[in-house]
């Protein structure tokens, strides 16, 4: 096992798949010569050459559209949209074209493509460079949606996304790029649609995604100290959603808390809460509680942004309050 940063693991995942499959191409703004503004694609240009690793103009519609046209005619493109906020500039391509064309043509075309994007807050960038937008993608039939929380998952799930025959939106939380973690040596390919139970417990089940996972883990450790023993589940993939694992882990404790970086309304936790309420209502011992960013655009100032996003302290307080 080698220790890699999250950003190194992303590059390693792309490299692993480009090495294995010559139809994998990678394009985006500043991704080749500059190695990406978040340095998550350093070294790929040198290793795979300018034919397969290409800088694009600031043209998000052209980037995603080109990937779609290439995917439907024999390539497996990976594109980078620098900030997930910029998905709004090419949402027609993603939501109307990429997501729907297979269905509308009744399977005449396949679209094996991956849209990677830097997501989420914590960088003091303000509301147009900090959104956590995985729930936008989750709302559109025809898109698979992945958001890893560790370097190992970044590499393994990215490899799985690249090999997947359908379009995948791959969210990389900006606040995680610098974290380090063990990544398996050699080829590492994970499975989409699988949640992971990170710790077991008996009192409550905390379900978290991406950057909220380490916060949920830290909160669970604190809660242990006051006698509340929490399960933590890393959702990892919103579509397909591993409801089996989530329902099973909620049934064990009878209490569900979701920790979501997205603003309140229609966050992924709402869908999970709905599924749990419908399918294991009798196992619940109390209300489902969602811990989210308030329903506001994310503010820029450190003091405000830190408090707006779910903090370890807020998770602890919310769980403690609800479990009394």
């Amino acid at each position: 096992m080698a220790e890699l940063t999250f950003r190194e693991a992303v590059a390693a995942g792309i490299a692993q798949e480009m090495e294995r499959d010559t139809t994998v191409y990678f394009i985006g703004e500043d991704v080749a010569a500059a190695g990406g503004v978040f340095k998550a694609t350093v070294g790929l240009l040198d290793r795979f050459g300018a034919e397969r690793v290409r800088d694009t103009p600031i043209s998000e519609q052209a980037i995603v559209g080109a990937a779609m046209g290439a995917a439907m005619t024999g390539l497996r493109p990976i594109v980078e949209i620098m900030f997930s906020d910029f998905l709004a500039t090419c949402w027609d391509m993603i939501a109307n074209q990429v997501a729907k064309t297979r269905y509308m043509t009744d399977g005449q075309v396949s679209l094996p493509l991956v849209i990677r994007t830097a997501n989420g807050g914590g960088s003091r960038f303000g509301a147009q460079h900090s959104q956590s937008l995985e729930n936008w993608a989750m709302a559109v039939p025809g898109l698979k949606v992945v958001a890893p929380s560790t370097p190992a998952d970044a590499k393994g799930l990215l490899a799985a996304a690249i090999r997947d025959p359908d379009p995948v939106l791959f969210f990389e939380q900006k606040s995680l790029y610098g974290i380090r973690g063990e990544v398996p040596d050699g080829e590492h390919v994970d499975s989409l649609g699988t949640a992971r139970v990170l710790r077991s417990g008996k009192d409550c089940t905390i379900v978290a995604l991406a950057a909220m996972v380490p916060r949920a883990m830290a909160a669970a450790a604190e809660l242990d100290g006051i006698g509340i023993n929490a399960i933590v589940v890393d959702v990892r993939c919103l579509v397909p959603l591993d409801t089996r694992t989530i329902l099973g882990e909620v049934s064990k404790t009878g209490r569900l808390f979701t920790v979501e970086e997205n603003p309140r309304l229609c966050g992924w936790g709402a869908e999970i809460a709905s599924i749990v309420a419908e399918e294991c209502f009798d196992d619940l011992d109390g209300p489902i509680v969602r811990i989210t960013t308030p329903h506001v655009p994310l503010p820029a100032a450190q003091s405000m942004e830190d408090e707006a996003m779910p903090t370890v302290a807020r998770i602890v307080d919310t769980v403690k309050g609800a479990m009394r």
């Binding site: 559209g65 439907m72 043509t105």
Partner: protein
Amino acid sequence: MKARTNEASAAVASIDEKTRLRLYQVMVELRDFEQRAYELFVENLIRGTSHLALGQEAIAAGCAVAMRNDDYTFCTYRGHGHTLARGASMAAAIGELLGRSNGMLHGKGGSMHLTDVTHGAMGSYAIVGAHLPIAAGAAWSAQARKSGQVAVCFFGDGTTNIGAFHEALNLAVVWKLPVVFVCENNRYMEYTPIESVTAVAHPAADRAAAYGLEPILVDGNDADVMYETAARTIGHARSGGGPSLVEALTYRHGGHSRGDPASYRPKEEVSDWLSRDPVKQYRQRLASTGIDDGTLTKIEEASRRKVDVATDEARKAPPARIEDIESQVWSDGGSAWRN
């Protein structure tokens, strides 16, 4: 800027008779198909909307006949003709318009999304401008695979004012992609005269220079001119010369869509363009070059029979299957989003 005309190009004169008869046949079939689609509307058999290309047949025919079998066509919601011109099944097209199980997309797409990838018809796109970057992507793939294929992308004059048009052109030029962008300037952006909402007189041709491209303005109602223009620009793309942007002047005989009687167009303008009907004027040209009337009549009768047979087949087909509602979201054939 003056449109290139038949007389303007020596290359046009050298088009052989077989190709010309093929051009005529395709145009007649597209005309008959769209007429039938209109009749089926009137019968109230087609629900939703539909955008007919009556009057614009020379562009679809000229380009399709000049394309290689494995080249790619990308078109708009006004795409029946472009799809059929590549050889897609007429019965499947009518079936799709009628929402029948024999439909080209088994009822999932409808009139605005006809697609037949087995014939290189890579889709009809109903969000204005979206398919220009997608066509560029198919051209990028052809370039990467060194397949020699070319993508031909058709769109209306209104598309030249949307961002995707400019993003796609820029990328195609920068990457020297084998793609031909064909603007079908039918003078109206839906209901609005294009010149009243566009900064330049020729919405595509006047923008070509901004991307370092030759301005190409042609008579889109002349099948020979369209064939020659397509052959030249496609050949340029195939030989590694990069993209072209063609503006073809034409006219919709009808309104924008099913519900539009097009009463906003001046009568004299309509009658002027009707006198330049691409199908009728091509028939006259073929007759004047010595092709006997019997040959042309045979093509016309065969086309009418083909449309009749296709209509019968589609009418007899059962409605699109409700069992298919949840199929083909994913490559495994299903739509599961959870376990």
